[in-house]
């Protein structure tokens, strides 16, 4: 019997014993993190699906997994034999878990949720459709060898603004809404406010913790195990010297229960339903203001990110040179070896820590899966023809990077050359865009897509996501994508620019840089913004069909490649620099 089917059946036995009609299992953790640590990979434990974003609903006669188009093929493969059915999200006519419940269960059905891993907002939404039974850490009743909560070394960082200044600002926000306390539950918001980093979650320099900020005190619930390392001790000492109490993680519930009269600001989107349930004080429920402020990088953060992009660009250029010369010498390189090599090259930078997400190293048809997972064993070998796509990034003390290059490894079909050029045209159109301050990302997104749409091409994912300063590679509140979110693009924000094109069974193309939003000018018509590239790595021009580009677009490309050579050339060894000079030679308008 399939291992996952067995686990689902044991869950159903529990459901019968407790008279639950259904159980909702979320892919997130008690902090609504995008990536959970091992202990909270409950969807993976229950279904075998390893994608980043999925929720499950199990009834006595149905088990469903909800995920988006990035993972449809992977989910179908991994769910085979588990009896779990795929429910597609973000497609026309998609049905959410709540809608499925409304249509398929009686309104007096009892749905059990893991109250730690459902946000207060998610629980409230479910409660509109059924009777919700909140159970903290629901699956621990079944999951025997479940990992502990991690306690990785944590440390204080320089960010251009002291934590005192950030806490003062937060208190002024609390004061503006008559709140005596702010409960910060999102891990990247805590890390930003306290200038603290750790490695509790893979790829994310975060510390699993809660933060309770009062008008006269700050309580940091960060201790999950005995602290044994020197870094953490130093960091604790620094925090305590500034009057910040560093306390056991689980104490937060008791402390919150002790507040009864004063008004507490909570964010129901990130606060879990379990803690929410125990609050008896007056609440102000609103988005935590840290998210919007954190997105606007200060001068120090931007200068640091520029520096780390030089390091990252050097690693990328050395990587691309290594691939080209290795293939020319007839050496065999697999997708997995390439991703390992890139990590090694990044590690030459002194302040590199680890990858900011799992590298997508995809040759040929593999790249047609936007989130291809490169297998450790038996991954495809790169050939001297067609296209190779590599989407990767690093966590440096000086910042977070995220870059995709799609490189021709030899001759390409006409269709591939055209697709390659048109995706680059889309990339350049967004890079060149100017827009009024405060424009929502869904309107700026059109700048990238219009050139693709004109040729009846499109891609299913967003064009750009926010990127943190030595924090998550994905951050809100603004994004450059289809969804009609009102979150505005503002000066100082950092976004990816990653238009793409995927042809199943043939190839995938994505050209991605990070860009910072900066001032473009102010006049009677408004206050305008534009983008400036942070990423430094040339775009290959060998298969470009320049007849598809305007003069303005070619000028941008030549100028960008030239800047890459001028910046990185002097820092590369002679042979790589000479190679890069050829790679970045200007192309002409046909």
């Amino acid at each position: 019997m399939n291992k996952y089917l067995e686990r689902i059946e044991s869950l159903r036995a529990l459901m019968r014993a407790r008279s639950w009609d259904a159980v909702v299992v979320r892919g997130s953790d008690p902090h609504q993190s995008e990536y959970p640590c091992q202990r909270y990979k409950r969807v993976e434990w229950l279904s075998g699906f390893t994608g980043e974003a999925a929720d499950m609903l199990v009834t006595l006669d149905h088990a469903g997994l909800w995920t988006d188009s990035r993972y449809f093929i992977q989910a179908l493969q991994q769910l085979e034999g588990s009896g779990v059915q795929l429910h597609k999200t973000r497609v026309p006519g998609a049905q959410s878990i709540e809608q499925w419940i409304a249509q398929n269960l009686d309104s007096d059905s009892v749905v059990a949720i893991d109250s730690l891993c459902n946000s207060a907002a998610q629980a409230a939404e479910l409660e509109r459709e059924c009777s919700v039974c909140p159970v903290p850490d629901l699956l621990s009743l079944l999951w025997e060898d479940r990992p502990m909560l991690p306690q990785t070394p944590f440390f204080c960082i320089e960010s251009g603004e002291s934590r005192e200044s950030k806490i003062d600002w937060l208190r002024s926000q609390m004061d503006g809404h008559n709140c005596s306390w702010m409960l910060v539950s999102a891990l990247d918001q805590i890390a930003w406010l306290l200038n603290v980093r750790a490695s509790d979650i893979e790829y994310n320099p975060l510390l699993i913790s809660y933060l309770l900020v009062g008008m006269d005190e700050v309580r940091f619930y960060a201790l999950k195990q005995e602290i044994e390392d020197e870094d953490s001790r130093l960091c604790i000492a620094e925090l305590q010297a500034q009057g910040i109490d560093v306390l056991p993680y689980t104490l937060v519930e008791l402390d919150l229960a002790g507040i009864s009269q004063e008004r507490v600001w909570v964010d129901p989107e990130t606060l879990n339903a379990e803690l929410y349930k125990h609050l008896s004080c007056p609440l102000y429920e609103a988005p935590c203001p840290i998210e919007a402020r954190k997105a606007i990088k200060n001068g120090f953060e931007l200068r640091s990110m520029e520096q780390c992009h030089i390091q990252d660009g050097l690693a990328m250029e050395r990587f691309l040179y290594w691939i080209e010369t290795s293939l020319a010498e007839g050496r065999s390189i697999s997708e997995w070896e390439a991703s390992v090599k890139l990590d090694q090259l990044r590690a030459q930078a002194s302040d590199y820590l680890y990858e900011s997400f799992e590298t997508i190293s995809a040759y040929g048809a593999d790249a047609a899966l936007p989130h291809f997972v490169t297998p450790r064993q038996n991954s495809a070998l790169l050939q001297s023809e067609g296209l190779y796509l590599c989407d990767s990034g690093g966590q440096y003390l000086s910042g977070t990077t995220d870059i995709t290059r799609t490189v021709p490894l030899g001759p390409c079909t006409r269709e591939r050359a055209e697709d390659y050029t048109l995706v680059l045209k889309a990339h350049i159109n967004l890079a060149l865009a100017v827009f009024p301050s405060g424009t929502p990302g869904c309107r700026v997104d059109a700048a990238a897509r219009l050139p693709l749409w004109k040729t009846l091409r499109d891609f299913g994912h967003g064009t750009g996501h926010g990127v943190g300063f030595f924090l998550g590679v994905h951050e809100g509140p603004a994004q450059i994508r289809q969804n009609l979110s009102p979150a505005p693009l503002l000066a100082g924000m950092v976004f990816s620019n990653e238009p793409a094109l995927y042809r199943e069974g043939s190839h995938g193309i994505r050209h991605e840089n990070l860009m910072v939003v900066e001032e473009a000018g102010e006049n009677e018509f408004g206050h305008f913004l534009r983008f400036r590239e942070l990423t430094l790595c040339h775009f290959d021009t060998s298969i470009l069909d320049a007849s598809l580009l305007t003069k303005e677009e070619i000028d941008w490309l030549n100028s960008y490649n030239n800047r890459v050579f001028r910046t990185l050339g002097p820092l590369l060894d002679e042979r790589t620099a000479a190679w890069l000079e050829v790679k970045t030679a200007p192309i002409c308008l046909e």
Copy 2:
């Protein structure tokens, strides 16, 4: 004492007598029409403001008028001496009437509203902030010589789909939501469903009425006065022969009160609070599905609109020829004379009825007001230099038109030539746009603005509005504008394309065509749409700075002007045709 101040004071006396703390007066009518008939021009009666879109709030010590940027200057002029203060809407930080009430009145304040002219949705929104006292036709207590409800002749039209077919479709919609009745309250929705038109409201071929559609009967509450004309009698006979009861307008309230068990579909956005109050039956509250279906024109409607745009184009070309030759001959033309002349030229078409809105005939700095009201007396004279803007349209039996041309009457400054070219570039970029079916208008809007934004220019109003088939010149649900409305653009919809630029004290430029959305192709990437121009009138190229245009844009312009000449030339007299040939000669890429 200012007449309006006097009226406001008499309203305040009434407020004191009834213990009302505030009164809300809306600019609309009992059907939430964009334009009210004379009887419902209550904002104008109370304040003297004649703009199309304004609401008022009067308290014992404050009188405010809420309107958008199109009317700021006009409002300041017309409100002088009335004591009424302007509150700006659709600007950053704008405060709605509801927000003003929340901030300035106690929560137990009593706010009287005209329950006939507030929609159920508006009343519900107000009720969240204060105690609402609904009073039908509130101002009639003060307004003595108030006009009656109009009863203009009404008539049946051909629309390519029988009213039986439309009613059958509506019943299937009702059935899908378990409704036995649908109350249609929006006038253009009633006119569309019944294939009936009249002239009860200026510029709008509408009949002030209600419609109650049941599964076996249709009740049309259309009779406000004795019917004396033959057209109306014939139309009534045709409707009654098809089983549609034509009933007195005021009977609707009684009939609705008679429904107690069956479920009625009402649209709280267009149903007034007075009728809503009297409903005691189960309700299904949702947008009326007619709005979305009406926006998608059928083949007959599209062919008719193409025909009426030939008539409209002939009138426009004769008009532009008349202006140019008159000025060349030294004849003096005022803005007002020009608008009268254009109406006369349109009237040469046999099926022309009247203007579809008040013509904006604006020379020089007058055009810097997007909604300039051309004065009947002492309007400015056109000079042989600078720019003249004319925004006008017609109601034809075969369709509704809306066109703006901005024409150089002689030498222009470099700034004006540049502005003129860049607005045309924006217009062409939208005309050339291709986009996935279902894309919301706010994303398509960016196609027009991106070229302007790149030069740090912008305009404050939307780029395009829906246009009816011999109905309102503005219709929903989709629009091409900034607002993040999810209403999708679909094949068969007709939109204006009217990017613009305004420099106060100098000039205003707007280039407007109507376009229909049509299929562009379907493939693995989606189902794509594009635009096709309905409007036929050349764009003047004399001051164009072709260096600001791409080859694709110049090709579009040459091809469009050539199509105008080929279509209209053979239908014009020899001299006008020869002139048009010169005007539409192709320009070259510089």
